[in-house]
């Protein structure tokens, strides 16, 4: 009798004493063990810091302003001495490494802010279309099919050709055109969620539409949004560079990785390093963002476990 009681007291723990773990706790647990994603995040943060602190580095490390020219030292090969020539100089003797840092400011700023605009448009529209269905959904569906029917780069370059490009116009253009993918995901997810029993029961106890959408549907769409966000920013950085390359994005003398490539392209026979370094920066940034997106997907999408187990 006494031993049985002791076992009961010592081993059996009441269920509620076990710490509960949410989807986010699980995801964080998995992410911490995903070395590739951690490495990508660290690299991305470093790139962002280098860009944000570009003026500090320019003054204290390279002692060179980004607009500073030196016609006696054009097309200098990359060298450690002086530090400003780390990645060589361009056709008017500007320091490539300093311009790259400043260019990163523009490219990353456009990428992140335009992605934010995408989400501010795409998520509410997707939620509303998927939740309310009806004519509004039909209209949104038609609009998205139409926008997806036009090759995106055509649409972008025509609009960019009409309005004078600058960082803010570019953000507006990309932000207002690139939301369709996010809307489609949100809409699809919402449509499948609204038929679930827990939504019906929420309605049954008198929950308003707003409450159902924000309390019951949005939290379930949120993980997906985080995955999409990382990939979206990467796509926009690529898009910005392509538009700037075509002369319709950020205009010189403001450096962006895209327009530095265009500049370098004219001289690539004499100075190949001017072409290689901006491309590598774009590649690294986008690669990190896509890797983070992949890592988030693995961590947040429970259905993927089956793929990994067999």
């Amino acid at each position: 009798m006494a031993t049985a009681a002791a076992t009961a007291g010592g081993v059996i723990v009441p269920a509620e004493a076990r710490p509960s773990r949410s989807l986010w706790d699980n995801a964080w647990y998995k992410l911490r063990r995903d070395r590739l994603t951690i490495a990508a995040s660290v690299t991305l943060v470093l790139l962002a810091l280098l860009s944000i602190l570009a003026p500090v580095f320019a003054d204290n490390v390279f002692h060179y302003k980004f607009e500073q020219q030196d016609l006696f030292h054009t097309y200098e090969k990359p060298s450690f001495d002086p530090p400003a020539y780390l990645l060589g100089t361009d056709e008017v003797g500007r320091s490539q490494v300093v311009r790259l840092l400043f260019g990163g400011q523009v490219s990353l700023f456009v990428g992140f802010v335009a992605a934010l605009v995408n989400f501010l448009v795409g998520v509410p529209v997707g939620l509303a279309a998927g939740y309310f269905r009806g004519p509004f959904d039909d209209f949104i569906n038609w609009l998205i099919t139409t926008l997806n029917g036009i090759p995106q780069i055509y649409l972008l370059l025509i609009i960019a050709a009409l309005w004078q490009p600058g960082p803010l116009t570019l953000i507006a253009i990309i932000g207002l055109l690139n939301w369709t993918g996010i809307t489609l995901y949100c809409r699809g997810q919402t449509i499948s969620l609204r038929e679930r029993e827990y939504i019906t029961s929420a309605h049954a106890i008198g929950a308003t539409h707003a409450r159902v959408i924000f309390k019951h549907i949005l939290p379930n769409v949120l993980p997906l949004i985080f995955i999409l966000a990382a990939i979206d920013v990467g796509g926009i950085v690529l898009l910005e560079s392509a538009l700037s390359f075509l002369g319709l994005g950020i205009l010189p003398p403001t450096p962006s990785w895209g327009n530095m490539l265009t500049g370098g392209a004219s001289y690539f026979v004499r100075a190949w390093w001017l072409v290689v370094s901006p491309g590598v920066m774009i590649f690294l940034t986008v690669l990190c963002l896509y890797l983070i997106g992949d890592g988030l997907r693995d961590a947040l999408d429970p259905r993927l476990k089956t793929h990994e187990s067999h």
Binding site: N148, P151, L157, I158, F245, H310
Partner: protein, 319 residues
Amino acid sequence: MRNFLIRRALYAIPTLIGISIITFAIARLSPGDPIRLFTFGIKDFTQDDYLRLLHAYGLDKPIPLQYVDWLSNAVRLNFGESLIYHREAGTMILERLPNTLQLAVTALMLQLIIGVPLGVVAALRRGSWADGAIRVFGVAGHAVPAFWLGQVLIILFAIGLRWLPSQGMLTVGKDQLDLMDRLKHILLPAFVLALVGIANYSRILRTETLDVLGQDYIRTAHAKGLRERVVVYVHALRNSLIPVVTALGGILATLVGGALVIEQVFSWPGIGQFTFQAAIAKDYPIVQAGVMIASTLLVVSYVLRDLTYAIVDPRIKVA
């Protein structure tokens, strides 16, 4: 199946109408009055002349009516005269369409020939170094700016090694039908254009093959005593190839859109490069014709994609 095709084609009509509205709006929103642009500098040009010209071109009608006029011309591929070349804009775009198609189809072939086997190999050798390398490539291929890769390859193969030409479709003055010459010219642009799709296909095929290999009917095939090769290539591959068709939608969009940038890098005389140059020069008839024809190409290929999908996967309901 015929009904399915008809219905799917009918679904494309509202899309095409939407695209035509946007294309029409391009010219309406563009700064500058076309009559003033054309008559600029003409002496003793009165307000009366202006109004008569406005009427002659139908520009005094309400916007919706103007749209209907424009659309009825556009469906007959009549987009008006180019402001620069003074030739039919639609004809000029159509002349360049085969070049773009040639590039896009070659790129699509490369994607299938390279991307699909990569994905299958990665899945079959799961966890090996080959799998790792292919997975890294699957992400990295998406992250490379295509125009940059194009330039780097030009520096490498055209300027450095002098193996391949850097631009154009053929060597000027050479025989038009010189196949080797054409192949040499198309190799770099087609590969650069194909890269995203190759990466995409290798990823999709890897996931899908792993998925299929884990299914019961594969275990049954093994249990029957079939050889590994038969199980993989006859039983598994058939089903894992279905997403090749599903993914075609996104792939086609990147091919048609991406071609514009690639054509620009390699001076490939296709519709993308031509439309882009026209947009810079504000030659609106050409821009409208280019956007409309490129979009129609995309919408038609979406219909074909859905049709192929219905043929390949019998589980799709064909009503």
